[in-house]
Symmetry: D2
Subunit: 328 residues, 4 copies
């Protein structure tokens, strides 16, 4: 039987995402609710190694539910990838009396947590925080819904000018390995065509699609492109290619970049963060370890960290069809 | 075997909600994709009775995916509640060659559709469009997610001034019969207490909760109240009651009202609208009738209109507990 | 000759407004830039009386330029209206070594500052912070521009639903004594008619205007009403009156309330706050006292506090005409 | 004496900007108010050459006051730079009975208007519509205030992630020849340093400033850079340069691009558009020609087109100092 947890550490790690602060708040307040101490660990695993800790009570997380970013800061730690680094980190946790850990982050952060757990048997729980939505075991990662809204609000603005000048815009969104943002924001923004890492539509199809669009009477168009698309050209080369092949088009490029990671979280992300935070802490208190909490249908469930790391959430292929129909 | 559908009518009915335009667009473009004609019917059933029809091609729904409200307008029709009204409506559909109907609306609109179908055997499909999220058969109604974001953005602003003056605010949100908006937006906005129609917490508990909040060091608080809460006092009476019993509190009231129905839809609502519109039209084309399309987990499914009307989506009681923990 | 200022106190007083934090930041950093100490005084004059002071360096105002509300909190102090209260306050300033004061607030706050200065000869400078824009000596008060944007964003949402249902909305905005918000937001939101405290158009004209609007083919309309309008009926009585006299109209009411005071400040308000803060501190350092800093044309200027208090900014009557033409 | 104007044409030309639609609406409704006919000319001067005209009554501009872009579309016309092009355009105006022209656009558009006026004596009035705010004769161009808000909202999001990771961001904003956007949005967004076309601070000063920033305890910073800055390196080269010289910095680049031209106009821009539209039409009706309407202080005034074209609005050098103080 696992010994009773009395003090929980919480950290954010990897790329930040909207909702991380709401999740920190949920972890801190759930600890307080159960009369457990809570320690904030700064700058992810690096702060764990350096002992950058701070006690957190329910009032230390006032007025952060609606703030983007993470008050605990985030970082990527090379040192934590070494056994020596992890040894120091473990020593610091022991010294501080921390006996359970909640890690808010993505794949890489969970891998760190799992290795740490396997070496020291230290109780860990993961909360999926990344805008990319590519983590297996949850239908929504924290920050994904907010990022989608950020993207469509920007494309709505771009559409104003595209439509005033009868122009074609290529909009690059985040997603090195996963097309979730591109696919959903593309449908939401009414994109003509969507290029994602999971599927190589080929350059011919893009040209065809743009030709058809012109023929069907559309005066302006948006193409949404994930960073990691497989078309073999970056977004600026693609512009040149299309302009060379379809001289009737005047193409503009917009690379949205890091703004997609920031901003006040959507209601969906705030509620999700609250539910995940409660579940993560209460699961540790029930003696569970080495799981990620996630959303499945309408319920919060647990997925072994190992599975969350090894697998990926596939894109919903129905959406590719919806996108095609919508661009009629 | 059902005869083949060749011309589909689409209307919006009842209270409008963000995403209705995106759903109209989806219906129109799915028709075009399948080389079916599509007719827009203005002002809901009333326009059906008056023959207020307009042919819609894929270009008539350009640039509306991001617009609040409904370009087809909405209305409540008393005449359609009479057999004579429905007879006129049916005659108009026949005259116009319309042989399938997509109704975007809520409970009342679906009841109209079902009666119409039962009397004339006319193929109908429902798309749940209402901000209240109280329709059985879908985990999200169109517009609900947008309304949640509208509410928390406003409460975020109210919190600025509440917190600057150490004040208590009572914020009334929509929801005569259902507490979904209050409960989720309340958690999202970090409310101290949430009053909903489904549960009478009692006045004593509200006072206790506010006393505890003061004692725990909170300087300002928000209480979110659904229109239809069961506490037996309206929001202004409640203010007087609390100020009489807890003189340390200076209460302000804010009634959010109709702004909750408007605004550009969230990405979630736009994608949902697109998926529901595709499914509604393709289901009619497959010979199905008398269903509502809805979201179940990650999939679009069908629920018999009869069930959608008779049942209601319960609030998630786990959220009441999350709310309580979050206000620690 | 005035003695050299070495330590400046800053406080916010009266109703809060967006941009107050940006002004606090500007005061604090201008002090740091000139190697002067800066003390934050909490809860306005009440905190001055209670000695609720905190030293502020340039890093204590990090990341607040974009936050609504005021980190120094605000309050109305009855005690400061008494000679005893002001005596205590003065004693506290002397004890803390504060020898100059920047007051961010409105009319009432400036009156307090002027009395305090007249009694103790204490150097004071005022920064106009109020959403109402009714302070003489500046063409824009801090927070006014943000409040205008808040109002039109909400009315844009209301218009979505108004236009979907062919309805008339009465929208009440802040402004007990001044119609600046109503007049400008009314024009910005495309209101049919605007009711302000400065001018009693009379009920007949409102009915005429609404009749004309219907006749001209408008299907929905917005009337913007300042709290302090002179029409002699509150907004709910007005609804009843219009519905009784123009039965073709279905009127809805929306009272915007305190949300108008909150929210992230607009760029205009942030830049204005920065300029006013610099000028307030540097004027004190130059030995000036008893002035308000304000915007005149494109320049920051000084107005004696006495004038700022006794006079009011008139509404621009040209705008009444613009509004009438726009509702053609 | 000038003959009486009976039919006014209105067009938008050059890069679009938020508020152009509000200005079109104002022109159309002011014509209606004065019982003058109004003709919308599509795609700027090119549509004038092609006779792409449409009659516009007060109801044709319903619900556009809040829309970005321009419903009349915009374009740059090479043909209008030739005498033959202008001759065709003039012929079309005469044929359509148009006897006055309102041109909404920037420098280039005004040059076209002036040449056209000088050749044919055709009455023209200019409305300054461009986000760059570099037009002489008005303290605000249409769309500039909205663009500032768009930029700071995006930088607020970037700041969330910058601050979570202790990073430095270079944000490139529009402004090939003018630093108004960079300077004001930079102050509004709390930028560490601002690079503008009007002033070459030099690379040394940038490095110094960043070193000082680190030393003063700032963990993250934003540098705002106008497209046309004079530092001699593009934003990506600048990143490499800074990282080479200050290895303690991890720099990210964000190029905001065309989103700055779109979006729903701010209240300021909507009111300004309404006032400018009224003045432009009424000035034509008074027999005036060859002027630009603009904002001077709080009043709308006229500037000869010739002056508006030849001069430029200088940046306010006081703001450079404010920016320096604010980054203390």
């Amino acid at each position: 039987m696992s010994k009773t947890i009395k003090k929980i550490g919480v950290l954010t790690s990897g790329g930040d995402s909207p909702g991380m602060n709401a999740a920190i708040r949920a972890v801190v307040r759930t600890c307080a609710y159960h009369h457990i101490e809570c320690i904030g660990i700064y700058r992810g695993y690096q702060g764990m190694i350096e002992g950058d800790f701070k006690e957190m009570g329910p009032r230390s997380v006032n007025n952060i539910v609606n703030k983007g970013g993470t008050i605990l800061k985030s970082a990527r730690s090379k040192e934590f990838m070494t056994p020596e680094g992890r040894k120091k980190a473990h020593q610091n946790l022991i010294t501080a009396g921390i006996d359970g850990l909640v890690v808010i982050g993505g794949d890489g952060s969970f891998t760190g947590a799992e290795v740490f757990n396997s070496e020291y048997g230290f109780p860990v729980m993961g909360i999926p925080g990344t805008i990319d939505n590519d983590i297996y075991g949850t239908s929504f990662t924290l920050g994904y819904d907010t990022a989608l809204n950020t993207v469509i609000e920007v494309i709505d603005k771009i559409r104003d000018t595209a439509s005033s000048h009868n122009r074609l815009f290529f909009v690059e969104v985040m997603g090195r390995d996963a097309g979730h943002i591109a696919l959903n924001a593309g449908i939401g923004a009414g994109a003509e065509e969507i290029l994602i890492p999971e599927e190589n539509l080929g350059l011919e199809r893009l040209l065809d699609s743009l030709k058809k669009s012109k023929a069907s009477g559309k005066s302006s168009s948006i193409v949404v492109i994930a960073e990691g698309d497989k078309i073999g050209k970056n977004v600026f080369e693609l512009k040149d290619y299309v302009e060379a092949n379809l001289p009737e088009y005047d193409v503009r490029v917009s690379v949205l970049g890091h703004m997609q990671r920031g901003g006040s979280p959507s209601c969906f992300d705030r509620v999700l963060a609250s539910r995940l935070g409660v579940k993560a802490v209460e699961s540790l208190l029930e003696g569970k370890s080495n799981y990620m909490v996630g959303l499945s249908g309408d319920k919060i469930n647990l997925t072994p960290l190992e599975h969350a790391i090894k697998n990926h959430t596939e894109i919903d292929r129905e959406l590719l069809r919806v996108s095609e129909i919508m661009s009629t």
